[in-house]
Each structure stands twice: as C-alpha cells, then as structure tokens.
C-alpha cells in the first residue's frame, strides 16, 4: 500500500498503487477488484485520482502511436504529458488546442477533467478536440468511444473524472502554430467592475485571464491584471529570433514543507501589492512572451504545493452563470479579503459551454482561490458554496476535496444521466474513486 494524495496534499489516502505495463494488465487491474480508478500525473487537487481500494497509474503509457504532420492529427497513449507534446510537436508547428495552467498533466487526465484553458470562452475545452477514445471499462473490456460510436459513453468520459473506465488511448487534433510565442497585452483594472468589463472586451481575444489581488478591499476590491494573448506569427519575430524556444524544466524546487507560518495575511498582502504594481507597469502596450511563462507561470517552481506546509491546501474553483455574476463574485471576494488567508492570487476568467455531461464549464465567470488547510476553512467554504449554488453555479471536481453532496447535485443536473451510463458500462461498480465515494456512489 502507498500513501497518495492530490496536488493539494489533502486528503492523503493509503491505496494499492499499481503500475501496469500493458493494456491487458490495466483491464485486469480494474476488473478484479471493487474500487479502482485511473491516475494520471496527480495534478487534480483533491481525491479524484485515488481509488477506494486500488489506483492505476497511467503515466508509463507515454507513446505516440501516429502523427500526421499535415493535418496535426495524433493518436497517443493516455499517459503522455502535455509538456511532452508541447516540447516534441511545438517545434514542428503544433500545440494542444487547450492547455490548463500547468503543462504537467496527462492526456488522460485532461480528457477526464475536460480541462479548460484561457481560451475556453471562444474555443471550448480539451474534449472538443478529441475524436476517439479507447477505454477499458470496469469489466476489463476495451471499447472505442467517439461522437459517432458509443456516443453516450464518449460524452460521459469527457469530463467524467475517470469514472467510466480507464482511458488507454486517444485520437485528437493539434493546433497549427507558426511560433512558440504569444503576443500578450496586459490591462490593469482598478476594481471588479473594470476587471469584468475588460474580460468582456477580451471575448474576441483567443486567450484571456484575470489575476485578482484578493487582499485588496473596499474600493479596490477585485483589482486585477488582465492578460490577453494571441499566437504570434513568424513575421512578428525579430530577425534571428528562435521561433520555438523550449521551456526549461523546473530547476528550482521547494525542497521541504514550509512552516505554515510563511504564508500569513501580511506576506500575502505584500506579495500581491508588489505583483500588481509590477504588472501594472507593463500594462498598455503589447509584448511577445514565450508560451511557457504565458500559459504556465507556476511551472517554473517545482513542487510549489509545499509552500502551504504539511497540512496541505484547498483550491476552491466555482463558475457563476453570467447573469448576476457581478454581485456574487463581489460578495465572495469581499468575504475572502476579510478572512485574509486566501492565496497569493485568485484567477478569474470567462468560460463557454462545456461538452461532456459532467464538464465543469458553463457560460459565465470562473473564480479560483487557494486556501491553506486550517481552522474554520471548511465552514467558510461551505458558506461560499451556498452563494454559488444560489446563483446557479457549480464547483470544479478536479479541484475539489470537500464539497457536499447537496452542492454537487445542485450544480450538475446531468448527474442522473451520467450515473445511468456509468452503470451500463460498469454494472458491478468496480470503478470507484475517493471522489465518487464522497459525491456519487450510493452509500
């Protein structure tokens, strides 16, 4: 047995961690026990990638099956990391259509969470670019699912948090790009209204995201920097510039668990103030930045989750439908600012319609906040959840370690349909994660 946790390092669970070496072995690993689930690169924050009895590690399956350099179509094993795809195919002119805020996620994990990037408002989520999935069901059988074939299972698998079975392989499209550079425009917004206006105005930008200073209060509540971005063409580069500079692997790492003291309301406030001021200085013009710092600002510090100390941390990510979002977001940010221990930065961005039955995105604004695990935080987040539910919103399962069943059921009206499909694929109920035990499974 092995102690395993998500990126938030809470909760920590003892599980039978298996590393199968063949697809047949994957089928056997899930079929012969009640309570297993696939695990990708462990970047989900909470308990999604931990089986109730067994956890099936998939990162060993890291082969590309085929690639068409004309169309950008690729077939690959589910354990391939997006970092690997970017480094390998970027210089050849192709990138994933959708990347989350870290490149160290597997293709299987990206499909299972139907991850969104800074372009969700106009280009949709990861699943939109996936054509076919090869799935090992809880019975240990291998099936092909696509929009045409077993389409119910396809739309349950995209965003289904691994609960329809283990994704073995996928076929998808990559985006043709001319360079590895992003033309970035930074806009400083002095409060929440200005931030939301700037995001709305950024609807036509391919990429847009706002970093909120959540220590700011009163008239500055919601003060943000908005980052808009477009893929830069070759003609935008200076003569002799490298068209695709590769990102460096994180050199710096947080070597030990920091004492929980390191992050207190004063250090957070000072950091945010500095961050805002430095960013505001860049505001106005536009500049070329490498895609790595643009998409993955946190990846340069390995194991940064350790700065929250041994007890771990919680991320709270909600989405609020467009209508009425302003008031709810203001209310949440105000409570967070008063509490004073929220993350360095909160992220606000616009989402469009999700594709999978349980995909997180819906048209509206999503807000992501980090909190260290300590006294009173669970009660505090429950209160925030009430606001989210009342506004018709929901929480992101890939970030969750603590929402209640009531919050989950209110947010995901397609749940009964999902459960029916899951049951038909896995009548014995072999696939179970700590997340499904907490929120889905009959007790």
């Amino acid at each position: 047995m092995t102690l395993v946790s998500g990126w938030g390092r809470f909760p920590v669970v003892d599980t039978d961690l298996l590393r199968p070496r063949s697809f047949e072995a994957v089928g056997e690993a899930v079929a012969d026990v009640t309570g297993s689930v696939a695990r990708g690169n462990g970047r989900a924050y909470g308990d999604a990638a931990i089986g109730t009895a067994r956890t099936v590690a998939m990162t060993g399956f890291d082969r590309i099956r085929s690639f068409d350099p004309v169309t950008g179509r690729i077939r690959l094993e589910a354990g391939v990391l997006l970092a690997d795809l970017i480094d390998t195919f970027g210089p050849r002119g192709f990138l994933p259509f959708v990347v989350p805020g870290t490149r160290f996620v597997s293709v299987g994990g990206a499909i299972a969470a139907d991850v969104h990037g800074k372009n969700h408002h106009c280009e949709g989520g990861f699943g939109r670019y996936v054509d076919r999935i090869q799935l090992a069901t809880g019975e240990g059988e291998t099936i092909e699912v696509s929009r045409e074939q077993n389409s119910d299972a396809f739309f349950a698998t995209v965003g289904g948090m691994g609960l329809t079975g283990v994704i073995l392989e996928a076929s998808m499209r990559l985006r043709p790009v001319e360079t590895g550079w992003i033309r970035e425009r930074v806009i400083a917004a002095s409060d929440l209204d200005a931030a939301m206006r700037a995001l709305d105005a950024g609807d036509t930008a391919t990429y847009s995201v706002a970093w909120i200073d959540c220590a700011a209060r009163g008239r500055s509540l919601g003060r943000s920097l908005i980052y808009l971005g477009e893929h830069a063409g070759k003609d935008e580069l200076a003569d002799g510039a490298d068209a695709f500079p590769l990102g460096r692997n994180p050199g710096l790492a947080v070597p030990i668990d920091m004492p929980s003291m390191t992050l207190n309301r004063y250090s957070i406030r000072a950091f945010n103030e500095l961050y805002y001021r430095l960013g505001a200085r860049r505001a106005g013009g536009s500049q070329l930045v490498s895609l790595y710092p643009y998409f993955f600002p946190l990846d340069s510090l390995a194991d940064w989750n350790r700065i929250y100390g041994k007890r771990g941390f919680l991320q709270h990510q909600c989405v609020i439908p467009e209508a009425g979002a302003r008031d709810v977001l203001g209310d949440i940010l105000d409570r967070v600012a008063r509490r004073g221990d929220a993350s360095f930065l909160a992220v606000l961005k616009k989402l469009g319609q999700g594709d999978g039955l349980l995909s997180f995105p819906l048209p509206g604004y999503t807000l992501a906040l980090d909190f260290p695990v300590k006294g009173g935080i669970l009660e505090f987040l429950d209160e925030i959840d009430h606001l989210v539910v009342a506004a018709g919103g929901r929480l992101y399962l890939a970030k969750d370690a603590r929402q209640s069943r009531a919050t989950f059921e209110a947010g995901y009206p397609a749940l009964p349909r999902f459960n029916a499909i899951r049951k038909s694929l896995d009548p014995k109920g072999n696939i179970r994660s700590k997340l499904s035990q907490r929120l889905f499974d009959e007790v």
Partner: protein, 246 residues
C-alpha cells in the same frame, strides 16, 4: 539509408533503453531497437518515428545466444555509429546462491553476453576507424556487497572489460563509454525501496548517455552523487565492510 548518424540499442525494451532511444532520436539519430521480443519493440519504434521523423528498425537479439552474434551483426542493414548495450538481469541473489543455473544466467546476461557483443562491434568499428560503444554497467560492480554480489560481480567484470577495451580502442579512433547507474526507477526496481535523493528516472539516464557519447566521456555515474558514494564505499577497509549488512 539516410546521411544521419545511427544508434543501435541492445535491450531496447527496457525503460533505460527506451529513454536512450528517445534522447538519440530527438537529436537526429536513426535508431535500431534490439531485443528478445520484436513485438514489444514495435510500439516504441512507431513512437520514435511519429515524434522525430527518423528511421527506426527493430531486430531480434538474445544476449544469451552468443552463437548467433556474428550473424546478428552481419544481418544489420549497416554498421551503426553508436552501439549501446543496456541488457542486464538483476535476478534473485538468494536463489542464485544455491541455484547454479540461475547464477549462470545472471553472470552471462550481465557480463559474458554484453562483453562479447560489444567486443564484436569493436572489431568492426576499429576496422572502420570510428564509432562509439556504450556499456550500461552498474555501481553494483564497484564493490561486491553481501546482498547482490552475483549480479555485482558480473557487472564488475563488464566494467573491467569496457575499461580495457577503451584503452585499446581509443588508439583506433573508437570511443568506449561506461555508464554506472545507481538507483533508477524502472521495471527492474519496481516495488523496491530506493533512496529518494539518490534515485533518478530513466530519462535522466538516457540523456546522460547521449551527453557522454557527444562529449566522449569515459565513465559516467548517474546520478553524479554516486561517484562520491562509491568512492566512500570502495575505500572502506574489508574489516569494516564485511560487517555491513547491505
């Protein structure tokens, strides 16, 4: 045939072999993957072609079948620029202590076979006047330990073979690299308790092999920390060493 350089990986199915093949293909080498089961090599060959647009061939090779070595080398479409022997067998020390057949297999898989095949390539390389040979040995060969001296002694023999071959071949324009991994997370060490800070993933070894070939390094420890660790272990007096339980 292309004008690119080429590498042949013996033991292409191993995690370290796969990583080395990727490192070389990434920097533009055509690749040959050799192993006992050609079917398991095919997906890796397809992976290399899709990633790096290089030519990849797969070949059947059994390191215990020394009688077939001459014809194996002769059957290759061309003499590669680089040959890497990654083949090895950890086996089970405890059974090897009384099971002579098992002990023999460990010795042959880690010493006899890898030495003979690299020796054969060395003759061809010397005739041509160029080429690099890489042997993946182990820190276990630096000093025989109570817990794995059968494997360790075979690796020691292999290291000594490579050292001598290097001295002889360097005069003929042929370079020999000895790679000594410490702990690597692979199929071989799955489920074993390894010491975190001294353990690396297979791609680290693959990259180190490529660098050693390019820089004409003689002996590389991976991770580099093992050089010091082994220096200490090697200098312990026998009187002390024989009391240690590892």
């Amino acid at each position: 045939m292309t004008s690119r350089k080429s590498v042949l990986v013996l033991g292409g199915s191993s995690d370290i072999g796969r990583a080395a093949a990727r490192a070389f293909a990434r920097s533009g080498y055509d690749v040959g993957l050799a192993g006992r089961d050609v079917a398991v090599l095919e997906p890796d060959a397809a992976d290399l072609r899709a990633r790096y647009s290089v030519e990849v061939g797969v070949y059947r090779f059994d390191v215990l079948d020394t009688a077939a070595f001459e014809s194996f080398v002769g059957s290759l479409p061309a003499l590669p620029d680089v040959v890497i022997s990654i083949v090895g067998l950890l086996g089970t020390q405890e059974s090897a202590q009384s099971d002579l057949a098992h002990a023999t297999t460990i010795m042959r898989s880690n010493y006899e076979g890898p030495s003979l095949i690299l020796g054969l390539f060395a003759e061809k390389f010397l005739t041509r006047g160029s080429g690099t040979l890489v042997g993946v040995s182990s820190v276990a060969g630096d000093r025989g330990r109570a817990l794995n001296y059968i494997y360790g002694s075979a690796k020691a023999g292999f290291s000594a073979f490579l050292s001598g071959l290097r001295a002889r071949a360097s005069r003929g324009g042929v370079h020999v690299v000895t790679v000594k991994p410490g702990f690597v997370r692979t199929k071989m060490t799955e489920g074993m308790k390894l010491i975190g800070p001294l353990t690396v993933d297979a791609p680290v070894v693959g990259d180190a092999i490529l660098r050693a070939v390019e820089n004409k390094t003689d002996v590389v420890y991976v991770s580099g920390k093992w050089r010091l660790v082994m220096l200490i272990i090697k200098t312990l007096p026998e009187a002390v060493f024989k009391k240690l339980k590892f």
